[in-house]
Amino acid sequence: MKRKVLFGTIVWTLLITLLHVQLNVGWSRLVHEAKVLVSGEREELIVGFLPVT
């Protein structure tokens, strides 16, 4: 029984985490931020402009 509860909690947490990444974070952003954190990759920001001064 104890093992089932533990297993259920782990699966539930995993599902919630995956859902959060899917809905709120985005996989590409997660991968990029992980690279920034782990392998020291540069932060990146795209700035749009119109060629009027």
Partner: protein, 291 residues
């Protein structure tokens, strides 16, 4: 083309050709920030788009241009004429309405027409419009090509005129505050460098013409030198009093759907932090020198 800050952050620029696409890119989070028209930024916030104005793109750098041989010598001469504006959400539109009030010209006495900025000079040359108001380099284009004449520079009729502002997404401000500060610092530093000497301006014209504007360097050199205060890149902190005045007039002429408070659409903390920093100004690296 990419640029990197001293902290190593990559700042990529993306060129757009029309305002609606800019708006969409911002909403869909394709871009973190955008140089956008000041009243448009206000209206986006009024529409619920979570962004903040954090810095100005430049000061002045807009002119009203008429045909070289048109005989128009003041704004009163535009009564009954057709004038092009870059967008109804442009501060240039607000300025035209402000001038119409000053000159007692009614709403129906000038035909105001929206045209994409690159089309302004050709429309004037072809005679389909009598005048236009636009940001550089399209005002200078008609002068340089010999068929247009500047009626007014904004520096002479609305000193320190605001056209484009830098907006960034709220989520970026909340989650990557330091990244936004880096961006603002970089622009502030570039502006100081640009306004420091004429030599710097000519260098910048070469770089910008080749990598960003895809215009002849001579045109940008003209913009940055004739006269030298035609466009300025310092004093770029968004100031409440100036923005309130733009907002009020934009609301009165029906550009904004509602009044928007300064705090709703602006965050001047990045600009204020940048003004407190003292930088050792060096010549900006050429694109080929960037790693």
């Amino acid at each position: 083309m990419t640029e990197h800050s001293e902290q190593g952050t990559l700042f990529r620029s993306r060129k757009f050709t029309d305002w609606p696409t800019v708006k969409e890119a911002l909403i869909s989070k394709e871009v973190g920030g955008v140089f956008i028209l000041a009243p448009m930024a206000m209206q986006l916030v009024a529409d619920g788009v979570p962004i903040k104005v954090v810095y100005l793109g430049h000061r002045d750098g807009t002119a009203i241009v008429v045909g070289k041989d048109s005989g128009i010598t003041d704004f009163g001469g535009l009564r009954g004429k057709t004038i092009a504006i870059p967008s109804r959400y442009a501060n240039q539109n607000v300025l035209i309405h402000r001038l119409m009030r000053q000159w007692n010209i009614g709403e129906d006495d000038i035909d105001i027409r929206e045209l994409p900025p690159p089309e302004h000079p050709t429309a004037l040359q072809s005679g389909s419009i009598d005048a236009y108001i636009v940001g550089e380099p399209f005002a200078a284009k008609a002068e340089v090509d010999g068929f247009g004449r500047v009626l007014y520079h904004t520096k002479d009729i609305w000193p320190e005129f605001i056209s484009c502002v830098l907006v960034v997404r709220d989520d970026l401000i909340e989650e990557h505050h330091e990244l936004v500060q880096e961006l603002v610092d970089g622009i502030a530093k570039s502006g100081l460098w640009l306004d420091e000497s004429q030599e710097h301006r000519m260098d910048a014209a070469e770089i910008a013409a080749k990598n960003y504007y895809f215009q002849k360097p001579e045109l940008l050199k003209y913009v940055l030198s004739k006269p030298v205060d035609r466009v300025k890149y310092t004093n770029l902190t968004p100031l409440r009093e100036e923005f309130d005045s733009i907002m009020e007039l934009a609301f009165e002429i029906g550009v904004l759907s509602r009044r928007v408070a300064f705090e709703e659409y602006a965050d001047d903390s990045f600009a204020l932090a940048a003004t407190k920093k003292a930088w050792d100004l060096q010549q900006l690296p050429r694109p080929e020198e960037t790693p």
